[in-house]
Amino acid sequence: MRQPSFLVLAALAGGCQHGYGLMQSIRAGVEGGGGIQAGTLYAALDRLADEGLVRVAGEETVDGRPRRYYELTDEGASALAEETERLDRRVRWAQEGLAGRRRAAGATGPTRSTGAAGAARSAGGVGWGGATT
């Protein structure tokens, strides 16, 4: 799953939002990450709607301009949960690698460490193959 898609799904997990609300939520959620551009946001919304992961929840006119509200579908919530679990596994894998590196450095000084790859082998490995939404 592409990062903008993940960010939009994550921002919608708390409830339906309109376009600018999504931008603000993402900017607040990704500390120091710079948020998301409007064109990127709407490309992600198009893609996610096409996949059936988000849908338009409502529409109103504010200052003469249309404002649409978007919400997660059940499929979108499942996809977000799956992607979150996948990212969590990768974070744990990296943390195990870093912990192994620190242990090796503390025990014998500057020796060659097996790093994250060694930790992955001992833990059974982590596969590739996320969706490309």
């Binding site: 376009g19 529409e59 249309p66 193959g129």
Partner: protein, 350 residues
């Protein structure tokens, strides 16, 4: 762009990167978001980052518009059906054409003295094995076919087609041109979506490709055994090495298979909208194949190379007609299956 009106004119100009139909339905909404963000940031003109972002995504939206109105679910079904059809064709070609002749039997003339390609008879084996590998790994759940694997099949098919064309009229270890060309057309359709890896999708892929391959194999053996060739010739190879026989076989099958598939799809689509359109698109190469054969052999079996310009026009016309039909059917199916996915085709809202 710096005017008393603020950044709006600049953003409106940048929005022209998007297709008109997209602007009509979403343009004002996106403009409102852009203006709100610019106001918060105190900008009086679009930033360079905004310009790059809008132009890039606008051009990408124009590219997507070329694909048509098909919702993702339809494109995934087309990819699944095309992979099943291509795998079946690859299996038949490999079994009938690429393995050496049975003991005591010969290859049909004038191919008896051909060079071979490793353990196989022609370069086509590489393409067929690639198709079978992608299909088998997909059914096993090991591979999730994407545009990358589809692009590999397109490149392989294009390469083998070019090799076959370059080989004419001198016989080398290359398959008949129309087979890799046909598989290349199917692999292009594999690229339009993601192959369905649900339990039902994998069942469809396995059962569909096996059934198609079995039907082709039986008819190929029947035709090979009842042909006018010498009894000493391996009947399997008639299908493959005599390109007229093979083309005739496929064209005859190609009339029947899409019709049966479309009847079944017409019933299924009442319950699960979109299957008829997906089947129509996925079977269009088979229908084109029949048209190609009919035009090439319109003189009762004589090749008609002089008719190629008319043939090209007829094929392009058929492609355009089928494309138009599929487009309208896709819009209709999309409105029934997922109204939101084709909302941008409904004109301005709100």
């Amino acid at each position: 762009m710096t005017t008393s009106k603020g950044p709006e004119p600049g953003y409106r100009l940048l929005l022209h990167a998007y297709p008109r139909i997209w602007r009509r339905s979403r343009g004002e909404e996106l403009l409102a978001v852009l203006l709100a963000a610019a106001e918060d940031a105190g900008r009086r003109r679009p930033s360079p980052a905004d310009a790059v972002d809008l132009i890039g995504h606008g051009l990408a939206a124009r590219g997507r518009a070329l694909i048509g109105p098909f919702p993702a679910v339809l494109r995934h079904r087309v990819a699944t059906l095309s992979l099943a059809g291509g795998a079946a064709m690859a299996a038949v070609c490999l079994a009938c054409g690429e393995l050496p002749a049975s003991p005591g039997l010969e290859q049909p003339l004038p191919y008896a003295s051909l060079t071979t390609f490793g353990p196989f008879l022609t370069l086509g084996a590489v393409l067929y094995l690639a198709w079978l590998a992608v299909a088998a790994l997909t059914v096993a759940g090991t591979l999730r076919p994407s545009r990358v694997s589809g692009a590999v099949l397109v490149a392989l098919g294009g390469g083998v087609t070019a090799s076959s064309l370059a080989a004419r009229p001198h016989p080398i270890a290359a398959p008949p041109v129309y087979l890799p060309a046909f598989l290349t057309a199917l692999s292009l359709l594999v690229c339009v979506g993601r192959v369905d890896l649900s339990r039902g999708g994998r069942w469809l892929l396995a059962a569909g490709s096996t059934g198609l391959a079995a039907a082709f194999g039986v008819v190929a053996m029947f035709r090979g055994g009842s042909n006018r060739w010498d009894d000493r010739v391996d009947p399997r190879l008639i299908f493959y090495r005599s390109w007229q026989e093979g083309l005739q076989l496929i064209s005859q099958m190609a009339w029947v298979l899409p019709l049966v598939a479309l009847v079944v799809a017409a019933l299924v689509t009442r319950v699960r909208p979109g299957w008829f359109t997906a089947t129509l698109v996925a079977t269009s190469p088979w229908l084109l194949f029949t048209l190609l054969f009919t035009l090439l052999f319109i003189d009762g079996g004589m090749r008609a190379d002089g008719r190629l310009p008319a043939l090209a026009v007829a094929v392009l016309g058929t492609v355009a007609a089928l494309g138009g039909l599929a487009y309208r059917a896709g819009v209709h199916a999309g409105r029934r299956a997922d109204p939101g996915s084709v909302a941008h085709l409904n004109g301005p809202t709100g």
